[in-house]
Symmetry: C2
Subunit: 221 residues, 2 copies
């Protein structure tokens, strides 16, 4: 390389705290999702940023806090998505199916988020516990589910004895497993749960499952 340096600015140093901070978070999200908390390298995150490692410590304090910030942002994305839920104008059966489909879509669209959740569980949710922000979020979806369930039970359509949290767990289970365990499942059973041409199949399967559960005829107890 000859003496040709940066064109105008000798250092190219531009100050933009918000951009720097956001860029660190973006890259950190990828790196943590790629390699896990311990496997992620602070130097690697810094290298893939337009700034330096020093800035990670300047803005976040350390690797742990950076991971917490990554989780906080990832969860805030779902919250925002859930706040835009608009299914309550549908009848209960259609509303639940639609909600399940949106959950399905969100999981599929955010594999990095799924990986972060897996990683956080390996660490027994210690970062969530350490976050003032994440403790008290409460899922907007939960309220929606609760209202649909009540309405469905009132009209006699839903017979199952579940509350919103359990139904949310049921729906999330399937969506989460499909994305999170894609690799081992594929390696062991030779089936790619996230194959594009099977997407509709699994999306329908989830809806059928949830609706069948909610509307099944139960033995009187």
């Amino acid at each position: 390389m000859t003496s040709v340096e940066e064109p105008a600015r000798p250092n190219g140093r531009i100050r933009d705290a918000a951009r720097t901070r956001a860029e660190i978070l973006d890259v950190a999200t990828q790196e943590f999702a790629r390699a896990g908390f311990t496997g992620a390298r602070v130097d690697e995150i810094a290298a893939r940023t337009r700034t330096t490692k020093r800035m990670i410590y300047y803005y976040f304090g350390g690797k742990e806090q950076l991971f917490t910030a990554v989780l906080e942002r990832a969860y805030s994305v779902i919250r925002e998505t859930e706040q835009q839920l608009d299914v309550e104008h549908l009848d209960p059966v259609a509303a639940i199916r639609r909600l399940a489909e949106l959950t399905f879509d969100h999981h599929e669209a955010h594999p990095d988020f799924i990986r972060l959740v897996s990683i956080e569980n390996i660490h027994e949710a210690e970062h969530i516990a350490a976050s003032a922000e994440l403790g008290k979020i409460g899922s907007p979806a939960l309220d929606v589910i609760g209202r649909i369930l009540a309405s469905g039970r009132e009209s006699g359509l839903f017979t199952a004895d579940v509350d919103a949290v359990d139904l949310h767990a049921m729906i999330s289970s399937f969506c989460f497993f499909r994305v999170a365990n894609r690799h081992t499942f594929g390696a062991l059973f030779g089936r790619d749960l996230v194959a594009a041409d099977q997407r509709e199949h699994y999306r329908t399967m989830l809806g059928d499952m949830v609706i069948a559960y909610l509307t099944a005829e139960r033995a009187a107890d």
Copy 2:
């Protein structure tokens, strides 16, 4: 400490290759499950063994191969459990419910295995791919499910259009999620999915869900 050493043997060195190897695998399973692949420390595994780090490299070659060996043994445990499945004398509905319950029980009884699977998925199943043994196992449970499904469809009890692999995924999803995501779910929604007094509730819920799905009346297509 005074000069009191080992009672009889000056070094206490006993040779038992099988025991040493097994002990390393036991401790490694715990350590990998505790901290993830990268987070696990080879020195820590060695320290909690009656042998030394040298032996880990002697028997397994390295950290990667040790993790692969841990996975191989963990999967072999399920395979053995599945081989003892004895549900085909039941009617299809009872058989599937029983099978779901056994899957539920196995997940609950082996949280370390669940963690290993999560970890292996973070690493995109590269160790399973590298294992000659793990590639071609094929689940005994899958055959059982396949036969029950066929029998259930024949007798008109089952209406759902699923194969054994998909049904296995559905059952596993719920069991896996409940254990694997216990911590984040608990932190975010304030509900412990693995609480002892809720065990029957979730076990029943799983069975109800699967049976409802399989036996639901479907719109003619």
